[in-house]
Symmetry: C2
Subunit: 132 residues, 2 copies
């Protein structure tokens, strides 16, 4: 039988974010209240710094090749309450209060479908009303 | 005032996983019970297929350049209960029952530290007992 043991904390030295060869790092946005995983996007150093400075989630769009503030157009901003970094420093977890929905399709979460096509999340806005 | 509206579901056609130029895709593992985000890793097509066939999470290690079954050495396997795919098909969410801890440091989650060094998760095993 496996016994749950309580050990002193170790590895508490926080690693520097390990940006990859494209100078990017994946960041997961999780709703701090519901625990729902909302989206995965990438951050550049500038997006990371801007997020820390403003408390609003910023990312880097690989397709548009630009810094991007989540919700700047739609109003669906993410207030970042805490940032976690993983064991080897190559992924971030943003705990956020999500204004409106995170997904441009109108769903709360970008992960609104299971692989078999079931829709598992709620559609809460009409993208036609929000995006030009 | 913003009114919560309920719209018919759209975009229910499930996209094919959009593997990147390295033929990889990021996958987030989330504890299906607690909602904790446990880790982020990458999957190759083979890792993805193996996961679907076996119900056990498989990933691709970019540093070791090999397919990898989570917990094969440590016993800390992940039983995959559902797989979600994001709006544009370039990220996966594994909902898992985690045996033991997900992190090789002994913590339940790899995201056990906030950026300011606070340890926000529980250390539940001693890696020296588990890994050679």
């Amino acid at each position: 039988m496996r016994v749950r043991i309580h050990l002193p904390d170790m590895s508490t030295e926080v690693p520097e974010p390990a940006f990859d060869e494209q100078e990017l790092l994946p960041a997961i946005a999780q709703d701090s209240e519901s625990g729902d995983v909302l989206m995965l996007a990438y951050v550049s150093r500038e997006a990371f710094e801007r997020t820390r400075e403003t408390g609003l989630a910023h990312y880097y769009s690989r397709s548009r090749e630009e810094l991007w503030q989540k919700g700047k157009t739609s109003g669906n901003v993410q207030h970042v309450e805490d940032i976690r970094i993983d064991c080897d420093g190559d992924a971030l977890l943003y705990l956020v209060r999500q204004q409106g929905g995170a997904c441009h399709t109108g769903y709360e979460s970008c992960f609104y479908r299971s692989l078999d096509g079931d829709v598992v999340a709620e559609r809460i806005f009409d993208p036609d009303d929000v995006y030009e």
